[in-house]
Structure formats: C-alpha cells, structure tokens
Symmetry: C2
DNA sequence: ACCTGTTTTTGACTATTGTCAAAAGATGTC
DNA sequence: GACATCTTTTGACAATAGTCAAAAACAGGT
C-alpha cells in the first residue's frame, strides 16, 4: 500500500482525508505465475496497481498470440478499453511472475471521483503519463528492420529484455522468435 | 464554435457559465493546405479543435517521413506529448486541406481547469475517448501482410482511404506506396 | 483540348523475414 | 547425476515486401 500511495503522491498532492479513503478502496490481491488477470470476452470491472511482479497484455489474431504490452512494478494495469466502456475485453492480461496487486472496483473509483474533485485531477494526470508512455512505445515501431527494432528496445526499455523471455519479446516487436534469436547472435 | 460546443456537450453536460467561458478561451484560426500546425523541435503551446478539413501527424526516421496519425472534423489535435510536457515536439502536424481550427492556449486551459472543477472531468473523459481510438488503431497493426492491413483499414476507417492520398496511407500502414498500389489492384 | 505537374501503376530484381523441423542449452526435480 | 520440460539457437527454403526506374493516369489551369 505504501508504494501505491507514493506513486499517487508523485502524480499530485494528496490530502490526508483522501489518503484514508484510498486505503479503504483498494484490496490486496496475490496471484501466482501464469494466472490471467483479464480474460478476453469478459468485462473488466477493476483497475489494478502492480506492487510486485510483471505481466503481459496480448490478443489473438488468426490463432496467433500478439503481445502488445508489458507491465512492471508501480504500473496501473487493466484492460483500459473494457474498464472505461464496460464492454467485453478484447485482450488478455497474464502474469509472467507471481504478483502482488492492489485492486479498486469501477464503482469505488466512480464514488471517489464524485466525492473528491482532486481525485478527478489525479486520474487525468495519471492518464497523461500513461498516454505519453504509450506514444513513446509506438513511435519508432514502424519501418524498421528487425535489428533496428531490437536495438531500439535495448535502449528504450532494457528491463524488458532482461526480464522477459525471448518468445514474448519477439511477439512484442512483431517478429518471429527465430528472427529475434538471429538478430541477437549477430550483436 | 457551435461544433466545438456540441462536441464538448457530447462528452459531458456543460453549465451556461462554462459555455461562456469557453467561447472566450478559443480563438478561430484559418490556415491553407500544406501549412504546418506543429513543427518538430518547437514547443507546442496550443490545443486545437478541428472544425473543417483534415491533417496528418508525422515524424522523421532516417530521413523518411512516417505518418502515424490523421485528423478529421471534430477532432482535438496537438502534439499531446509536447503540449503536456512543454518539451519540444518530436512530430510535425501538416494540413492536408485548408482548415478551420479553434485554438486554446495551455495557460487558458490551466486557468479553466483551476476555476471549474467540471472542466477537469471534461478533459479526463476526452482523454479516455482519445485513448480508446488510439488503442483501436494499434490493435491489428502487427503481424499482418500488406493485404490484411489494407483490408483492416478499409473496414475500420474508410474515410481515410477516401480522402487521403496513397503515399500517406502507405506511410501510415508501414509499407511502400508501390506495395499498397499492388495490394489495391489485386482487390 | 492541351500543357504541366502530381499521383498512381507496373516491371525487374534483391534483401529480409517467416516457416518448419531439428538440435542444443537451461532449469528444476527426483 | 540423470530425466523431463522449457527455452533458445541453427539450418534450409519459400514468400513477402522494398528499391529503383519508367510508364500511365489524373487534375488543374489556360
């Protein structure tokens, strides 16, 4: 819980009142490796804060799993599309390690936003930070050779390379595992 | 201005007070085809509402222009990264047609957000809509052949194909103009 | 209808990457 | 230490897409 509050404080000042309220809204969740946090087709009713562990978001395309995102410590995770619209999720989120998470329901969040105007600003600023990271991920994703894509990732997000297994990274970069393996052997 | 207010009302209810305030904050801007709204390297101090016309966002990669986004009527446009962080923009936004835009400065927006708490919610919800469109654009962007990418775009955003010239669409889909031309001839 | 400049199409060739299949290397457990 | 399982590497071949260059189609203006 300390980590979560600290992350929120980094975004914007928090009154003691709202801090107490937050403590009540979030529930600790511990899940083992391999488990699914979000499953394709189900509506996603919670937003999670990831205290410990890592996970991946992926969707299916012609029977192939496409990893489009990795989550690590201090990230807020959910299928944002499904959480916002309350339509069934098109993606899955799977734990790549055992994880400690803090969950808040859509309803609790809505109540929080209606009660505390400062919470509204908190969420907006969190979105901005999230959006900027998303943008950085996609700039440089196009028109590159496998080698360039890998070198770019190595600079931009070495923690992904250190921690995630080859097949998932290949899927994330949009190439086959074999190609990625060959790229690596050439460096 | 009517269109802008209507768009905002679609997002969330507006009090008459805030409507008047909005009228004062936005400035009408008319620019000819080819002009740049945002230029790489310059800090972007305005957010625009596009009433009429269309435009493209692109960045340079090894001397090649990569179009990553198109804007049409009723879109809010800017280099969000630069506008939010006030760092120099990494992308350009160029008008593909003559356009009518409504501009609001970063300062005016900040004042608005501090004065009217409901504006805070307005921006958050606008972000959510924007984010969802962005996500839809990138899902299905990977692991596909040129033909599939084009067919996907045809379904998802036929207005882009009808209105934008071949070279820009090719750049947007991450393929050469020649390949796109061949794909089209096969259908 | 004609000229001019721009956009789109076509052709030939090359390079990169995907696919399938098998081998080699790690990791964990008994 | 040996076995089973999972991950990574290597090899051979086919298919897809990029590049360069030239031709054709289209649009706007006179």
């Amino acid at each position: 819980m300390e980590r979560l509050l600290q992350q929120l404080k980094d975004i914007h000042h928090l009154s003691t009142e709202i801090q107490q309220q937050l403590q009540e809204c979030f529930t600790k969740t511990v899940l083992p490796k391999g488990e699914f946090l979000i499953t394709e087709g189900k509506v996603c009713r919670h937003l999670y804060f990831l205290e410990q562990g890592c996970l991946r978001g992926f969707y299916n395309l012609d029977g192939k799993e496409i990893t489009h995102w990795f989550g690590f410590e201090n990230d807020f995770v959910t299928s944002f599309h499904s959480f916002i619209t309350q339509e069934p999720a098109v993606e899955n989120i799977q734990l790549l390690e055992g994880c400690i998470l803090w969950a808040i329901s859509k309803e609790s969040l809505a109540t929080l936003l209606n009660t505390y105007h400062e919470a509204e600003r908190l969420v907006r600023i969190a979105y901005e930070k999230y959006y900027i990271r998303l943008e950085e991920r996609y700039v440089n994703a196009q028109f590159r050779t496998a080698t360039e894509l890998y070198e770019n990732l190595l600079q931009r997000a070495p923690h992904i390379i250190e921690r995630i297994s080859l097949g998932y990274i290949a899927s994330y970069l949009g190439m086959s595992q074999e190609t990625l393996s060959r790229v690596r052997s050439r460096l």
